[in-house]
């Protein structure tokens, strides 16, 4: 483990840029001890952020063609382990 195990680093991954994908997402619900599942589909920009070490990689997805009812943005950060490429 590195000295600062929670530091984050941004980058660009050309191998995923422009690829369409689905994200089985979700997270804890603020104000509660519960969580929720959320599904997204869209296009990856290639931008990523690695949180900590070992790196916990998150990709930016835009042009969402599927998102939860009421989701307030046209973009979402997706954890790499929960991304499924549509071309596979």
């Amino acid at each position: 483990m590195q000295a600062n195990p929670t530091a984050s680093r941004a980058g660009f991954d050309v191998t995923v840029a422009g690829r369409r994908a689905e994200c089985d997402g979700g997270g804890p619900i603020a104000g509660t001890r519960f969580a929720t599942r959320e599904e997204f589909a869209g296009t990856l920009t290639g931008e990523y952020v690695d949180h900590g070490d070992p790196p916990w990689r998150w990709y930016l997805m835009v042009n969402l063609v599927r998102r939860p009812d009421g989701y307030p943005s046209d973009a979402v950060w997706c954890e790499s382990g929960n991304l499924f490429f549509l071309e596979e």
């Binding site: 483990m1 195990p5 929670t6 984050s8 994200c23 089985d24 997402g25 979700g26 997270g27 804890p28 619900i29 603020a30 104000g31 509660t32 001890r33 519960f34 969580a35 929720t36 599942r37 959320e38 997204f40 952020v49 949180h51 900590g52 070992p54 790196p55 916990w56 990689r57 998150w58 930016l60 939860p68 009812d69 009421g70 989701y71 307030p72 943005s73 973009a75 979402v76 950060w77 997706c78 954890e79 790499s80 382990g81 929960n82 499924f84």
Partner: protein
């Protein structure tokens, strides 16, 4: 002599007597279940790293060298950082008015203090990493990820002797995590409390078993009785993940009003609703969920707007212990929660009923006793 049908590969992996996992937010339940021969996982998603470390120490002081687990809700998606600020700019007046009308109609008292809206909402990966650091430093026997894929932490965890379980709601998630090397996969069906997958327990479990190979599969969602345990093993599971049943145990720190509601509830007294937080989750029905289902109700707002609306109801109800208003997350298995028993009795009752079920099917008495 017939084999003990309750002795599974999960028992061998964890060194436990019964393949029953209790998921709970109460340390006392963890200690009771572990000491009764089962396995228990403490939900710590909302806790600070210091609190998690203290809880681990507390549990170790009561279970000795017996294994237990800690659960964190690793986020799997997050909106861009500026979205929350935009959201918090205002709640539509029509929605405020609807919430006020519910408050007036049900005479909901004001909260006694500031609303306990925790800021940790999974939007900050740094907090999750700090929580994980405690898991690694403390070498907790088992880490379970209650939502996101724990693949990124597997190597570090295994290097410290920590087993990692992943909880999934879809088969493709299970395959991804099994391929990454998780030690067990928890297949959670739609019957479950809180956040659930879209597939029923009776289908998701054998689907995941079919692709799991040697990785133990743990059945979750509606599992409450020994018959559920026996059925889960028949589906190919190596154990069960249970939640709602522990809320009503004597050790549980749930309010007595909630315990009484759980004991009285039937399966259809739960509802899969977005009205509490803006996110879908299964909870006990209450006036708040009922009102937001009515045709005249405005469209439920996204998070965190809806949570800001509902928090006044929730805290007012809890602070003043209004039995007609209070609710809790609960799975459909709540129908089988019919008494406030000691946690160890729940374990033993499940075991006894499961064995009786197998003996009824086979006509043979197992060597479990």
């Amino acid at each position: 002599m017939p084999k003990n049908p309750l002795h599974t590969k999960l028992c061998d992996m964890l060194g436990i007597e019964f393949p029953i996992i209790a998921f709970t937010h109460c340390k006392d339940v963890v200690a009771a279940v572990v000491n009764a021969g089962g396995f228990a996982v403490l939900g710590e998603a909302m806790h600070t790293p210091d609190d998690i470390a203290a809880d681990i120490k507390w549990i170790r002081g009561r279970v000795g060298s017996k294994p237990f687990g800690i659960d964190l809700v690793l986020p799997a998606s997050a909106p861009p950082a500026d979205t929350l600020e935009k959201l918090l700019a205002g709640i539509p007046e029509a929605h405020r008015q609807f919430a006020r009308s519910i408050k007036e109609r049900y005479q909901i008292p004001d909260p006694k203090g500031a609303q306990a809206l925790h800021q940790w909402g999974g939007l900050n990966q740094e907090i999750a990493r700090k929580q994980l650091e405690v898991i690694l430093e403390e070498r907790v026997p088992v880490f379970t990820s209650g939502l996101g894929n724990p693949a990124f932490i597997l190597e570090a965890a295994h290097a410290r002797g920590i087993k990692v379980f992943g909880l999934i709601g879809k088969t493709r998630q299970a395959k991804r995590e099994i391929d990454a090397g998780v030690d067990a996969i928890i297949a959670q069906g739609y019957d479950a409390a809180g956040h659930t997958g879209p597939i029923g327990t009776f289908c998701i479990v054998p689907e995941v078993v079919a692709i799991a190979g040697d990785t133990p599969v743990i059945a979750a969602g509606g599992v409450t009785t020994g018959r559920h345990l026996a059925a889960a093993l028949c589906l190919g599971a190596a154990g069960v993940w249970t939640g709602t049943v522990w809320l009503a145990t004597r050790e549980s720190d749930s309010d007595m009003i909630i315990k009484e509601k759980l004991v009285a509830a039937a399966s259809d007294d739960t509802v899969y609703s977005r009205s509490v937080s803006g996110f879908p989750m299964r909870v006990l029905r209450c006036p708040w969920t009922e009102e937001w289902e009515k045709p005249e109700a405005p469209r439920v707002l996204p998070s965190p707007y809806q949570m800001l609306l509902s928090s006044d109801y929730i805290q007012g109800a809890n602070d003043h212990r209004r039995a007609d208003l209070m609710f809790e997350a609960a799975g459909q298995g709540v129908a089988f929660v019919d008494a406030m028993k000691p946690a160890r009795q729940v374990v033993f009752d499940m075991v006894e009923e499961a064995l009786a079920t197998f003996e009824g099917l086979t006509g043979e008495v197992s060597d479990a006793g």
